[in-house]
């Protein structure tokens, strides 16, 4: 582990890579503040840039920096104008915005930055401890277990994404998997489902799909409902003074940060849970265990109420790297996009990554520390200036967001058909959003599709048929777990409903 760490240090501490971290964090913060562009869209826009760099470590460091920056930028806009750019910072606005209204925006930002920094750093330490252990277990896995593990991941994501509507989330997952079969796969040297269209020969582009699923619907909603974006008045953003917090406040938030970093990390490791759930849960837990008079303060500008979701969501972001780096299975939409980027860079994440290319693995972890440090000492003082971006009027902001989604899909592909696909899928995605279909499962299904099919095929070939399911107990166990994840929420909801109607008896 020590030599890996040293290799990582020497990779991360080159001039280029430090610039990558700093640049990534700044870009991420800048764009993350804008409504409509969450971490997923920003990373998708940055992928062509990262691929041009060529060096996988540098590219991954850049993307990780962008990721932290985007999450931090989201918190900033939550606090300053009550417009969370990202779902995972919604909980931050509960107390951050009231505090900013009292003229203490600077204090709220500092608490958020310290909490993010601690959450991210503690998360990175935990990642350093847990990832190698998990990877050494994962080395024992065969293709059949990988197949089963991916099924578990997909069903967990579906079960979490569609609370109460598991069938919709599952249908989206299947749709994503089906879309992944279009084009010429690696496994069979024959195009499938292309309907003779040349442009479909290489399948759908995953950046196009990511843009169409997330950035474009959000931009369309901004157009449809002008009340949705609260940019443009610029009245609050100019008044950020006094970034200091008192000793008393520091004493108050320390235990909160400690608890929520741990809790957030472990929630982040679970597939499907991720930063949003971690931040809401962190906020709820801290409110429940606070003393009576502190509970009163929650929602009115409590520093604890800012520290809890902020440390939880950053720790969870780091935690979500565990399954990505050790198993090659993304637990969230953002890590799914990172997985896509890694594959494009010819890096296959999984347990072999730590053995074959330790410098990549460790450089990413080191860059996490660096990224958090950059956010704390570089971005925080710059926030008053970066926040000026919030004053960009809507009439200019929206065309730029649309233009960035177009660019993301076009750069690197140089194919105008990709842009037409983007608009078409974007319209479909908007309709899906209107009908309450969750979209993250579709994208994760699409990215995991080829890996899932590969492992499935390998297992089928090895066991000459479907026999691997019952011949390997671990595979069977994982598949049963996957079924339970999907069936249990529905079963429990049904029983609760029946009980409410007074039909259920017995237990």
């Amino acid at each position: 582990m020590l030599e890996g760490l040293l290799a990582g240090l020497s990779t991360a501490f080159t001039f280029t890579n430090i610039m990558m971290v700093i640049g990534g964090c700044l870009i991420g913060t800048f764009i993350g503040m804008l409504p409509g562009l969450g971490p997923m869209s920003i990373i998708a826009i940055m992928i062509p840039v990262a691929i041009t760099i060529g060096d996988p470590s540098a590219a991954l460091i850049l993307l990780a920096g962008v990721y932290y920056g985007a999450v931090f930028g989201g918190s900033t806009s939550s606090i300053l104008i009550n417009a969370p750019g990202v779902a995972s910072t919604v909980a931050t606005s509960f107390d951050g915005y009231p505090l900013a209204r009292k003229g203490q925006a600077g204090k709220a930002l500092t608490v958020a930055a310290i909490a993010s920094f601690s959450g991210g750093t503690i998360g990175a330490i935990l990642l350093m401890v847990f990832a190698p252990a998990l990877a050494s277990v994962a080395l024992l896995f065969h293709s059949s277990e990988y197949f089963a593990l991916m099924v578990v991941g997909l069903s967990a994501i579906a079960a979490f994404a569609g609370t109460g509507q598991v069938s919709k989330a599952l249908l989206m997952t299947f749709l994503g998997l089906m879309m992944a079969t279009v084009g010429e796969g690696v496994l069979f040297n024959a195009p499938r489902f292309t309907m003779g269209v040349m442009d479909l020969q290489s399948g759908f582009g995953f950046i196009t799909l990511a843009m169409a699923m997330f950035a474009l619907p959000e931009a369309i909603f901004l157009v449809l409902d002008p009340g949705r974006s609260k940019t443009g008045d610029g009245s609050d953003s100019g008044k950020i003074k006094n970034l200091r917090i008192t000793r008393e406040e520091a004493r108050k938030i320390t235990p909160v940060i400690g608890r929520q970093s741990l809790q957030g990390f472990f929630i982040g490791v679970l597939p499907g849970a991720g930063a949003t759930i971690a931040s809401f849960l962190g906020y709820a837990v801290e409110r429940n265990i606070a003393s009576k008079e502190e509970q009163e303060e929650f929602g009115k500008g409590s520093v604890k109420g800012i520290a809890a979701p902020e440390s939880a969501n950053n720790a969870a972001c780091t935690g979500s790297f565990v399954p990505l780096l050790t198993l090659g299975i993304p637990g969230s939409g953002t890590t799914a996009i990172l997985l896509g980027a890694l594959i494009a860079l010819n890096v296959s994440p999984g347990p072999r990554l730590m053995v074959d290319e330790p410098q990549i693995f460790w450089a990413v972890i080191i860059s996490m520390y660096l990224g958090n440090l950059v956010l704390l000492i570089l971005n925080l003082p710059l926030i008053p200036y970066i926040a000026k971006v919030l004053a960009v009027p809507r009439n200019y902001l929206i065309p730029f967001i649309l233009f960035f989604t177009l660019m993301g899909a076009y750069i690197g592909q140089n194919n105008a058909t990709e842009l037409l696909l983007l608009v078409g899928f974007g319209i479909c995605a908007t309709l899906f959003r209107f009908a309450d279909y969750p979209l993250a499962p579709l994208l994760i299904g699409f990215i995991l599709g080829p890996l899932l099919e590969n492992n499935f095929s390998r297992a089928m070939q090895l066991y000459d048929g479907i026999g691997f399911v019952w011949e390997r107990p671990m595979t069977l166990g994982l598949l049963i777990l996957a079924v339970m994840l999907v069936v249990l929420p529905g079963y429990r909801a049904r029983r609760a409903r029946l009980r409410a109607e007074g039909v259920a008896d017995g237990d």
Binding site: T52, F193, L419, E453, R497
Partner: protein, 163 residues
């Protein structure tokens, strides 16, 4: 019928077409030697499509009770009449136009037009500022992408660059 069930119907139809291809037409093209393998190109799609058809049927028939959703803050179809649908449609048309014009008239002109017409659609009437912003943005993005990052973007109309 609610929108989610209409969408389920559309997905069901797509699945039927996909399933027809997977079950009936794909295997015909398979070389005989591949037929001895336990896994065919159509195997995985065959499994997928059954799951997708069952799920879309379950939504179409309303087998799973959906929870009452009254989140007024989020986007909601019942408020459609309050929304600026016209602007959204025009911007989508503009994006299609951008896709079609990008190659023939070049990146700089297409981007300039996209940004200025886009803000015009959204109600911007300060033409001087509009043109200035669009021109600077188009130039800067082209410079960053093409010169700094080295990703080729054809800047001028096709007849000028000989392509």
């Amino acid at each position: 019928m609610a929108l989610d069930r209409w969408l389920a119907l559309v997905i069901l139809l797509i699945c039927l077409a996909y399933g027809y291809a997977a079950y009936f037409t794909m295997d015909a093209l398979l070389p005989p030697i591949m037929k001895r393998s336990p896994i065919w190109p159509s195997s995985f799609p065959k499994v997928l499509v059954i799951g997708a058809i069952l799920l879309s049927l379950s939504i179409l028939l309303g087998l799973e009770k959906s929870p009452d959703k009254s989140d007024a803050a989020d986007i909601n179809l019942s408020r459609l009449h309050e929304y600026k649908v016209g602007q959204a449609v025009l911007l989508l048309v503009l994006m299609v136009a951008y896709a079609l014009l990008l190659r023939p008239i070049g990146f700089l002109a297409a981007t300039f037009l996209f940004l200025s017409v886009g803000s015009f659609i959204l109600g911007e009437r300060r033409f001087g500022l509009m043109i200035l912003v669009a021109a600077i943005a188009a130039g800067t993005v082209w410079y960053l992408v093409d010169v700094v990052l080295g990703i080729f973007l054809s800047p001028f109309p096709m007849f000028l660059s000989g392509g």
